[in-house]
């Protein structure tokens, strides 16, 4: 049996069998089949196979629908999933864990540490010990800005007093301490404070 030379007609035969053609298209294909022996034979074969579709028991629609999830209505507030862990940026993680109302405690503690360190340095070295550097207060805060990679580095202060800082410098130091707030809260109490000219002190 030779096949129809026009493949597009053969491609449409299954659609005719399964009723997927529009009425006008079905008429068009029927007209072709009427004059094409090859397509007529193929159509007969396809109809036999189509008619042999397995019979299935009608599914229990109500039972299926009863188990379906409820629609999340468009525009309604969608509740946050509770099963999966909430993902928040690391920068927000600690502030979410500690309510903002407690932040002033850390600011106060950081300021106290700064003041105590500065006073200690002042007492140990005293002003004018080194004439070459007298009157040139230096506060090294390079290891304050981020969480210290080496915990023994801690906060390094050279001599000089915090009261020698200008308002802008003090704001910078406080801002650095604020960024340091990302360190685990327990580290605040145990981070050693290393004085440039003195021993370790907590």
């Amino acid at each position: 049996m030779s096949e129809c030379s026009e493949g597009t007609w053969r491609d449409r035969l299954p659609d005719l069998v399964t009723g997927r053609l529009s009425d006008s298209d079905a008429v068009e294909v029927d007209a072709h089949v009427a004059g094409c022996r090859s397509c007529a034979d193929e159509l007969q074969l396809l109809r036999i196979v189509h008619a042999a579709r397995p019979q299935v028991a009608p599914p229990a629609v109500a039972a299926i629908v009863a188990r379906l999830p409820k629609p999340a209505i468009v525009g309604a507030e969608v509740p946050r999933p509770t099963a999966s862990p909430e993902v928040v940026p690391i920068s927000q993680a600690f502030s979410r864990r500690r309510p903002g109302g407690e932040r002033w405690v850390w600011r106060l503690a950081a300021s106290a540490v700064l003041m105590v360190g500065a006073a200690g340095a002042f007492l140990l070295t005293g002003p004018g010990t080194d004439p070459s550097t007298a009157g040139e207060p230096v506060v090294a805060v390079e290891s304050i800005a981020g969480a210290p990679a080496d915990p023994t580095v801690g906060v390094s202060l050279s001599y000089g007093g915090a009261w020698d800082l200008s308002e802008a410098e003090m704001q910078e130091v406080l801002a650095s301490l604020e960024r340091w707030d990302g360190a685990p809260s327990t580290d605040i109490e145990t981070t050693p404070l290393v004085l440039a000219s003195g021993g370790d002190r907590e």
Binding site: D15, V17, E42, H50, A52, A57, P59, I73
Partner: protein, 193 residues
């Protein structure tokens, strides 16, 4: 929002109408109309059950049909309207069948998926066996390769387009067309030997 219940095919593509009706029902369901879910299930449950049965999961049809709908409705936000809802359901169902077969294999009860599909191919043609012609068609279909048979039956019995078949079976539209025509040729040759 279009009225899904009153839509009728007016153009050249009945498929487009079916897709539009499904899209309208999905939109209604999303806006809180739970009756739309019933309509969607009614429209596709039987075809889905037939498809699942032909995948070789004859004893699990009800369970798999239900699981397929649950997964589909749970993930409707991810449904792309560029494929038909029925095709999407078939794709989910096929993956579920494969997952269950793999799980059964891991539990020590190996199931050859190819054999299962072939067996279902026999089953679906049982009604033809009573006649000599039916027996020969049954043999012809059983002699096809697994993919040829899947494409051939999806096209003739489920009425899927080549595009839908490609999406459901994880192949290309061109490959689906080739498999279909090779299958038809093989069945014809078998019938005229």
């Amino acid at each position: 929002m279009p009225d899904a219940e009153t839509m009728r095919p007016t153009g050249s593509s009945r498929d487009a109408t079916e897709v539009a009706v499904d899209a309208a029902l999905i939109a209604r369901w999303r806006s809180g109309d739970e009756q739309a879910a019933s309509r969607l299930v009614e429209r596709h449950a039987e075809a889905l059950a037939r498809f699942v049965g032909r995948q070789g999961a004859v004893d699990e049809v009800d369970d798999l049909v239900q699981e397929t709908f649950i997964r589909a409705f749970g993930a409707l936000d991810g449904f792309r309207a560029d494929s038909s809802f029925r095709t999407w359901l078939f794709t989910i169902a096929r993956r579920l069948v494969i997952d269950r077969r793999r799980a059964q294999t891991r539990r020590g009860s190996p199931v050859d998926l190819d054999d299962a599909v072939m067996a279902s191919g026999y089953d679906m043609l049982d009604e033809l066996v009573a006649t000599e012609q039916g027996e020969r068609i049954r043999e012809a279909v059983a002699s096809l390769t697994r993919l040829q048979r899947a494409v051939f039956l999806a096209r003739i019995q489920d009425g899927l387009s080549y595009r839908d078949i490609a999406e459901t079976l994880g192949t290309t539209e061109g490959a689906a067309r080739v498999h279909y025509h090779n299958a038809v040729r093989a069945v014809k040759e078998h019938m005229h030997v």
